[in-house]
């Protein structure tokens, strides 16, 4: 079985005004390609920190992090940027669309950071908008959309570069039950299409859809169960 991510004894310390916050205290984990993992745990337990490390937004203090065959923990900033641009799609709790850009332009943003942009990729962005059900809103600005619609744009955007990973940090935290269902259906489809999906969440119903649930406590893995 091919591994999408291999995490070994990963730690992360934040130093704030001379005080060290030990956000992660040694995480070891293997995530097979095409898996769907939910990360749960109380607030402040290090869920976002772990997700950001896997997403190459930050560098670990110690330990080893491998994505596919690449050892990410030893890479410099521009190499990490390239990994993010080609292999990782982010979905955030607060959508984080760029306010000045319309729906289609928002979906296209990741393309700019990869170098060449082909006509094929542009038309794929329209298909993605179509896939999340927003083909009639291409020219709308984010603030003209509902929360659920914005999150669907964010999912389409995370797919623009055809990444291996979809990393979602509480993607349904701001949504009602019905829209949560819609978003989870979308993510479920992506999982079936072969993407490796990692979702940070508080909600049991959300975690219930994942194949595997990892519970964090104080920067350590408290329990890991496969459903």
């Amino acid at each position: 079985m091919q591994l999408a991510a291999r995490i070994h004894e990963l730690t992360k310390d934040y130093v704030l005004k001379g005080e060290t916050v030990r956000a992660l205290r040694g995480i070891s984990l293997e995530i097979p390609a095409g898996d769907c993992v939910a990360i749960m745990g109380p607030s402040g337990s290090g869920k976002s920190t772990l997700l950001n490390l896997i997403g190459c937004l930050d560098r670990p203090t110690s330990g080893c992090l491998q994505l596919g065959d690449d050892d990410v923990s030893s890479m410099d900033d521009s190499q990490l940027s390239r990994i993010r641009a080609s292999r990782i799609g982010f979905v955030f709790q607060s959508y984080n669309l760029i306010a000045q850009l319309n729906v289609l332009e928002n979906i296209e943003v990741p393309l700019y950071y990869r170098g060449r942009i082909t006509r094929h990729e542009r038309s794929r962005c329209r298909e993605l908008a179509d896939m999340v059900g927003l083909s009639d809103r291409l020219k709308h600005r984010p603030q003209q959309l509902s929360g659920g619609q914005q999150q669907r744009v964010a999912i389409a955007r995370s797919l623009a570069n055809d990444p291996d990973f979809i990393l979602a940090d509480e993607p349904t935290g701001n949504l009602d039950t019905q829209t949560t269902e819609d978003i989870l259906d979308l993510l479920g489809n992506l999982h079936r299409a072969g993407k490796t999906i990692i979702i940070v969440t508080h909600e049991k119903e959300v975690a219930a859809r994942a194949r595997r649930i990892i519970r964090l406590l104080d920067g350590r893995i408290d329990e890991s169960l496969v459903q």
Partner: protein, 396 residues
């Protein structure tokens, strides 16, 4: 291709924040325009100050005849010939290329009469340019003209005090004054406005009183009054023959004054080796003053320019900082979507460049309007407070 796109995105991003972009452009515009305006106005004032100093005669070399302390050995005549010759004048004008103009003057004290009234006047034989150089202003009539000079006419122009003394009731224009020593009449063709006596400037320019002057063509003076003046002094008679009292040499450029003065001195030394009867006077103090003023204005404008640039620069920095702070979230999101640090820097650099170029161009255009604006302002001010404005120097 990608570069073009990056630029297009930058421009688009600028247009996506019309208000903020407008304010930034406005800030840069004001910065650039104010630097241009201040420098233009400063340059104008500086030039005006320089011109005023030149007006005092900083670019003039004065060559005067000086009565020698003792008569040359072997001289038996009671009439002493000395001083500048008309030949000196010709040689100076012909051989020194940096001389732009030369004014010969012959002056003598003479009694002038009109009816019962009389006055000891200074009769000045001069050329038409004399009025300009000494800043004499015509009240009525005209100054000595080229035609009068050529025809050696018996015409004269009176200073205001002479008019007051000789013509308390009549209009002098067209009347004739009488010079008893020469037994000659001169028709009055012009009268001058009052000219305050000039103070001595440093050691090089003597004080001069213009109030008792009667101006006639220098050619007329030569033919009618001659070069020789004889005065009675306690029984014995004393006399002198002088062709020219003074030549005012105008130098083409202030920077050439000292060099030209040296040449003039050498030329005259050769021609007047027997007697020390000529003096070359250089307006040293005026030259120094001109130099000091120039340096002062250069420093002043440098300071003004750097202050305005500093203020403008800080303004632009503030706006850019606010822009970046306001958009930390956008920066974070773009980073998460794969932007490298240089991508972000490039984006802001392009946006800043677009704004700066727009503001700079607008500022230069605004700067170009400075003369019109200043003129307009001056017109408005003149119509409201003409007294005040007329005392201010003209700018730009």
């Amino acid at each position: 291709m990608l570069w073009l796109r990056t630029w297009l995105i930058g421009i688009k991003s600028v247009l996506l924040h019309p208000m903020r972009s407008l304010l930034t452009v406005l800030g840069i515009f004001i910065g650039v325009a104010s630097v241009i305006w201040l420098l233009a106005i400063g340059a104008g004032i500086s030039q005006k100050a320089q011109e005023q100093i030149e007006g005092l005669g900083a670019d003039n070399i004065i060559v005067r005849s000086v009565k020698p302390a003792k008569a040359p050995d072997g001289s038996t005549s009671f009439i002493l010939p000395y001083g500048l010759l008309r030949a000196d004048y010709d040689i100076l004008v012909e051989t020194i290329p940096t001389i732009r103009g030369a004014l010969p003057i012959r002056e003598m004290r003479r009694e002038v009469r009109y009816g019962q009234r009389e006055l000891l006047a200074r009769v000045v034989g001069c050329t038409p340019e004399y009025a300009d150089i000494t800043q004499l202003e015509i009240d009525r009539g005209h100054f000595v003209s080229d035609a009068e000079l050529q025809l050696e006419q018996n015409h004269c122009v009176l200073a205001s005090n002479v008019v007051d003394t000789l013509f308390p009731y009549e209009d002098p224009i067209g009347r004739r004054i009488y010079l008893p020593e020469a037994q000659d009449y001169y028709k009055i063709v012009g009268i001058l406005k009052y000219r305050a006596p000039t103070a001595a400037i440093g050691g090089s320019l003597a004080a001069q009183d213009f109030s008792q002057d009667v101006y006639i063509p220098i050619t007329t003076l030569r033919r009618r009054l001659g070069d020789t003046v004889v005065v009675r002094r306690g029984g014995s008679r004393e006399g002198e023959t002088v062709e020219l009292n003074q030549i005012t040499l105008q130098v083409d450029d202030i920077a050439n004054v000292m060099k030209t003065a040296d040449l003039v001195q050498q030329t005259l030394d050769r021609r007047h080796s027997k007697l020390e009867d000529v003096a070359v006077i250089v307006p040293k103090e005026l030259l120094e003053q001109a130099e000091t003023t120039r340096v002062m204005f250069m420093v002043f404008m440098g300071v003004i320019a750097s202050i305005s640039l500093l203020v403008g620069g800080i303004g632009i920095m503030n706006i850019m900082l606010a822009t970046v702070m306001e958009r930390t979230r956008e920066i974070g999101v773009r980073r998460a979507l794969g932007a490298s640090r240089s991508n972000i820097v490039l984006q802001f650099l392009i946006e800043t460049t677009v704004l700066s170029v727009a503001g700079g161009l607008a500022g230069i255009l605004g700067g170009a309007f400075c003369p019109y604006a200043v003129n307009g302002l001056r017109q408005i001010l003149t119509s409201y407070a003409s007294d005040l404005i007329s005392t201010l120097p003209q700018l730009v």
